[in-house]
C-alpha cells in the first residue's frame, strides 16, 4: 500500500483505505475502483493524498530512476546532497527531500523525451 498524491492517481486504481476529507467524513470508501470523476472530486474536497492498493511509492521512484542513464542520476544525487543538510529521524525533511528528488528525476526523464515540465501536473 502507499499514499499517492492526487496528481499521480489514475482510473482503475483501488483504494486501500477510504478517502476522507478533513473532517473525517468518508468521501469514497475502501475497496472502490477509482474513476475520473472520483479523482476530480478529490480536488473539490481538498483531499491531497489517498492510500492506493498495491502501490509502493518508493517503488514508483525506483522505476523512474531505472529509466535514466547513470550519470544523470548521479548528478541529481550530488545536487541534492549539496542542497540538503544531513538530517536524521526527521520525517518532514525526508518527505521534502523525496518530493524534490522525484520531481528532479521526472524532469530529467521528460527532458530526454521532450515533454513539458513535470513538476506541475494538473
Amino acid at each position: 500500500m502507499g499514499i499517492l498524491n492526487i496528481s499521480d492517481l489514475k482510473p482503475g486504481m483501488v483504494l486501500a483505505q477510504s478517502a476522507k476529507n478533513r473532517h473525517g467524513v468518508v468521501i469514497i470508501g475502501k475497496g472502490n475502483v477509482l474513476t475520473e470523476k472520483h479523482i476530480h472530486s478529490f480536488k473539490t474536497w481538498g483531499i491531497t493524498g489517498v492510500d492506493i492498493k498495491n502501490i509502493d511509492v518508493d517503488q514508483v521512484t525506483k522505476q523512474e530512476m531505472e529509466a535514466l542513464p547513470n550519470d544523470i542520476i548521479e548528478s541529481i544525487e550530488r545536487e541534492l546532497d549539496e542542497l540538503f543538510p544531513p538530517f536524521e529521524d526527521n520525517p518532514v525533511m525526508e518527505e521534502i527531500y523525496k518530493i524534490v528528488q522525484r520531481a528532479s528525476l521526472r524532469q530529467a526523464a521528460n527532458q530526454t523525451t521532450g515533454v513539458a515540465d513535470e513538476i506541475e501536473r494538473d
Binding site: I6, S7, V92, M93, E95, I96, V100
Partner: protein, 284 residues
C-alpha cells in the same frame, strides 16, 4: 529582540526606502468608518503603476477568476479589503525592491524570486492548513528576507564579508551575520517593518522566520512562513544567498497540523503559482 544598534542603523539611514505612500494612505483609509469602495479604488488609482499591477495580478491564473476583472472597484469588491491591502503592499514592495542598487555579489533578481517563492509557498501552506488570513502570511513571506536588502545596500562592505564567510564555511546567513554584523537580517527586517508601521503579526513573521529560538508565542502564521521559506529553498525558487535548505522546526510543523502527504500538494501548487507570478512581476 531589538538591539540599540539596529535601531541606530535604521534611524540613521536618510535614504531608507519608504513604502510608497499609497499603502499608508490605504491602511489609514481602511480603518476609518467613512471609506467606501469607490473612495478606496480611487485612492489606489492615484498610483497608476500600482493600480495597473494589482489588476494584472487579479486577472492572472493565480487567482483563477472566470470573468475578466476590468476595473479596480470590481477588484476591491471581489477580493475584499484585506486581500486588496496586501496586494497593494506587495506591489509597493516590488517598486521599492526594484529601485535598490545592490552590491555585485547579491543578485537582486534572484532575491526577488526567492521572496515571491516564499510568499507563495507560505500562503499555500496557510490555505491548506485552513489559517484565517493567508493574505497576511503572503506578505510575511514576501518580506521575510528584506533585512538582507538593507544589509546589502547600506552595510555593503560588511555584507560582502558575510557572503565570503558563507561561501567558505557553508553556514547559514544568520550565523555569519551575527558574527560579522552583530545582528541578523531577521532582526533588521522586522525593525524595518516596524518603521513602516506594518501589523505586529507581520513584524513577528519576519522576526521569527528562522525559529532559531522559540518566540513567546509560536503562531501558525510564523510556522507557515518558516516552512514556506524552507520549501521555496528546496524548490530552488530564486536565491537569497543560502546554500542549504534549513531544517524544519518540529513544533512549527506540529502546530500547522498537516499530514506529510499534504507536502507534495503544497509544493506542486506553489511551483505552479510561482511560474505564473514571475510572468507578472518580472525584473528586467
Amino acid at each position: 529582540m531589538k538591539s540599540k544598534e539596529i535601531d541606530r542603523i535604521i534611524n540613521s539611514i536618510d535614504t531608507l526606502p519608504a513604502l510608497p505612500i499609497i499603502y499608508m494612505k490605504l491602511s489609514h483609509l481602511l480603518n476609518t468608518p467613512d471609506s467606501s469602495i469607490k473612495i478606496i479604488s480611487n485612492m489606489i488609482s492615484e498610483d497608476p503603476a500600482i493600480a495597473a499591477m494589482v489588476l494584472r495580478i487579479v486577472n492572472s491564473a493565480a487567482y483563477g477568476f472566470y470573468n475578466k476583472i476590468g476595473d479596480l472597484q470590481h477588484a476591491v469588491v471581489i477580493l475584499g479589503l484585506n486581500e486588496i491591502k496586501n496586494l497593494v503592499l506587495a506591489t509597493s514592495i516590488y517598486k521599492v525592491v526594484k529601485e535598490f542598487k545592490s552590491s555585485n555579489a547579491f543578485d537582486m533578481q534572484e532575491f526577488w524570486k526567492h521572496s515571491i517563492g516564499c510568499a507563495i509557498s507560505a500562503r499555500v501552506l496557510a490555505e491548506t492548513a485552513y489559517l484565517k488570513n493567508p493574505e497576511d502570511v503572503f506578505t510575511g513571506g514576501l518580506l521575510h528576507d528584506i533585512g538582507k536588502l538593507i544589509h546589502a545596500a547600506y552595510l555593503r562592505e560588511k555584507f560582502n564579508g558575510v557572503l565570503t564567510n558563507i561561501a567558505e564555511t557553508e553556514s547559514q546567513m544568520s550565523e555569519s551575520e551575527k558574527k560579522i554584523l552583530g545582528f541578523d537580517h531577521a532582526q533588521t527586517g522586522s525593525a524595518l517593518a516596524e518603521k513602516w508601521n506594518l501589523p505586529r503579526e507581520i513584524v513577528n513573521m519576519i522576526a521569527h522566520h528562522h525559529l532559531s529560538y522559540m518566540p513567546d508565542t509560536l503562531t501558525r502564521e510564523i510556522a507557515a512562513v518558516h516552512i514556506g521559506n524552507i520549501l521555496c529553498v528546496a524548490l530552488r525558487m530564486g536565491s537569497s544567498g543560502e546554500k542549504r535548505v534549513p531544517i524544519v522546526n518540529q513544533k512549527a510543523w506540529e502546530i500547522l497540523d498537516l499530514k506529510l502527504s499534504d507536502l507534495e500538494y503544497v509544493m506542486q501548487r506553489s511551483t505552479k503559482l510561482f511560474k505564473e507570478s514571475l510572468s507578472i512581476m518580472e525584473f528586467e
